[in-house]
Amino acid sequence: MAEIARPRRARRLGNIAVQVALVAVVGGLFYAAAVNAARNLAAAHIASGFGFWDNTAGFDISQTLIAYSSSTSTFGRAFWVGLLNTLLVAGIAIVLATVLGFTIGIARLSRNWLVSHLAGGYVELIRNVPLLLQLLFWYNAVLKTLPELHGSMTLPGGGFFNNRGLFLPRPQFSENFRYVLIAFLFGAIATLGLSVWARRRRDQTGERFHIRWVVLGLIVVLPALVFLSAGTPLSFRFPNLGRFNVQGGVEILPEFAALLFALSIYTAAFIAEVVRAGLLAVPQGQTEAAQALGLRPGTTLRRIVVPQAMRVIVPPLTSQYLNLIKNSSLAVAIGYPDLFQVFTGSVLFITGQAIEIVAVTMAVYLTISLCTSLLMNWYGHAVGVVER
């Protein structure tokens, strides 16, 4: 970068001096911190190291995707439970936020004045209010004010909800269900093969093969037929409203629902802006040229505008996904057992080993972020426009 008008040798010596000084200062700080930490921890009789990982956890977790019991499972198991809960809520929220965000981003560019301004109002309102406030609103002001257990609202189809959560029928798969899965798998593979073949033929001969109906048959009709002929190998166990609690069925915690709503609604507002910017980045001339060639509006959007817009949209979209994953740590405010809540909440409270636990938690988020950045760099190279 900036070259300084000084003799080169003096500059090089100066650089070396700066580097040595910096390393010394940073190293000194780390050393002092380590010495102090060791002393303070010893004074407080807190163990160090990861020996606690295999100890019995002894606390309950309200939502577990893998088997976990407070009396036998270890802290290490609790870590995986928390991580899976984080990934579950973040994964579903990413899907919802993407759908909502794309809808609103496209609505903002609508030529209908009312539609575009409603979408704009949504974006401004949601973007300018802190996520934590929205989360508390959904949890405390909406979901916690639902009726109590005895006044549960029933849903059509045998589920119900109250202020303890949403209770849905639990599907029970009998042994024959695997034939349905096999049929579905076969349909999926056949579809893949067919679409590759259809594209190759179109590229070579220009003739188009409409696979839409064939795909519908392969993926929906075939498994459905197998399902019926295998004797409908699927039944539901309906939740039972007891006097004090609910038995059976799938339970969706209000904490999970609140976090899901807040994360997807909040992130959707940002995704909408990303999508809008991406679509606006495609020059008007592209649309006009496509129209001049006689492409229909839908085709223009699908084949001309969106592929070019995606190149602009994907990098900021990914960083919104990352933000969503990081923001899911706000779960701690309402007590959803995500990684942060389980680890820096319960585990830290029991073991007191702040350094190790905060380090592990940060390492997980950092790994997710860095992997995504690497993927993004790769994507950037793969789709980047080759400029003349």
């Binding site: 300084i4 009312l114 401004e124 802190p130 188009r208 229909r296």
Partner: protein, 382 residues
């Protein structure tokens, strides 16, 4: 592409000739063009109108017409035979209002907080008004004088007759503003240094800058705050253990610096290379090249982004709530469960008030950023 299009993608006949656009203007024409131009458009308009008609009246009723504006306790806000469906309980906000602004700051000393707000408003106005006189002095005032002045004013200087007020008594909007201000005052200079470090050709400087920036940006703010609040006391000798608020401030400042560094880096990248070369040709040293030529241009271009970062920071200050600081949101949470005001609508009212506060602040800032942007765009147009 429909099957009817056959084997060709392309137009085979000339496009239909369209009538010239209407030169007439008026409300009806506008309506026809913007709301009722096609069947799909009409359907969308009708759906939107139906949605608004469904949503707006109950909201207005709840927050305005049926709201309880003044009362001594919760009785008025509860459903009663006279008022079977009461609206928002603004009376409770009125009663708790001073708590929301000052927290537990002693009554007799609250003029100090007001003075701090005034001094801060002066600093912000000075910097935000792009053609204000002597903006250089404004910057010195904001980044050097104001922090020292505010610290003395708020925490007290017994020597000057200002009673010291421990930070555990601070609360509400005061704390939110303090955290946000410290965030911006610290993050801008540190962000600039980190951004320069990241572009530096001294390997160690570059390495440390990149490591710090990527590390902080890769983890959630709440883990940084947690690190600051549980690990910082371990890293210093026990007698220097910092105050709870200071720990949160350290966390916020670190976090904001990393984000600011990336914003400033974007600004630096936008300054043409010729500017560096010209400044060097004049014989300026590195710091003078930066201070006199590059940074003034870079910061000006990136001012909208700095404001946007600051909006994010302002919203994120609400996270100090989780490490036990009595910021504005925390005071709302504390007041919400007050048994004297326990009604079904208390929570909603509290959250609506908080949302209005954050919305007004953040929306104001984003309008400002957009104005600066259009102004810059105008200046760049040739």
């Amino acid at each position: 592409m429909s099957a009817a299009a056959g084997k060709t993608y392309l137009r085979s006949a000339p496009a239909e000739r369209l009538p010239p656009p209407s030169a007439r203007r008026g409300a009806i024409i506008w309506l026809r063009e913007n709301l009722f131009s096609s069947p799909v458009n009409i359907a969308m308009t009708v759906t939107c109108v139906a949605f608004l008609a469904w949503g707006i009246p109950p909201l207005l009723r709840f927050f305005l017409f049926d709201a309880i504006w003044s009362a001594n306790d919760r009785e008025a806000c509860l459903a009663s035979p006279q008022n079977p469906d009461p609206g928002a309980c603004w009376a409770y906000i009125r009663v708790w209002f001073s708590y929301f602004v000052y927290g537990f700051y002693p009554y007799g000393e609250r003029w100090r907080v007001d003075l701090f707000f005034a001094a801060l408003a002066l600093g912000i106005a000075w910097l935000a008004w792009l053609s204000a006189p002597r903006r250089g002095i404004g910057a010195i005032y904001f980044f050097a004088v104001l922090p020292i002045l505010s610290f003395g004013l708020l925490s007290g200087v017994p020597f000057l007759g200002l009673v010291s007020v421990p930070t555990s008594l601070w609360g509400g909007i005061l704390v939110t503003i303090v955290v946000a201000t410290v965030g911006i005052v610290v993050s801008l200079p540190f962000g600039i240094l980190l951004a320069l470090g990241r572009r530096s050709d001294i390997p160690v400087v570059k390495f440390f800058s990149i490591t710090f920036i990527e590390f902080v940006r890769g983890v959630p703010l709440i883990t940084v705050l947690f690190m600051a609040s549980v690990m910082l006391p371990l890293f210093v000798p026990e007698r220097f253990a910092p105050d709870k608020l200071v720990r949160a401030l350290v966390g916020v400042a670190l976090f904001a610096s990393a984000y600011m560094a990336e914003v400033v880096r974007g600004g630096l990248a936008s300054v043409p290379r010729g500017q560096y070369e010209a400044a060097q040709a004049l014989g300026l040293t590195f710091w003078r090249v930066m201070g006199l030529v590059i940074l003034p241009q870079a910061l000006r271009v990136t001012l909208p982004n700095i404001v946007n970062t600051f909006i994010g920071l302002f919203k994120d200050t609400s996270l100090v709530f989780i490490v036990g600081i009595f910021d504005f949101l925390r005071t709302i949470e504390a007041a919400r469960v007050d048994p004297h005001w326990a009604t079904p609508n208390t929570s909603v009212t509290g959250y609506a008030f908080a949302a209005a506060f954050y919305f007004i602040c953040c929306y104001g800032m984003s309008r400002y950023a957009r104005n600066v942007e259009t102004r810059l765009a105008r200046a760049h147009r040739r």
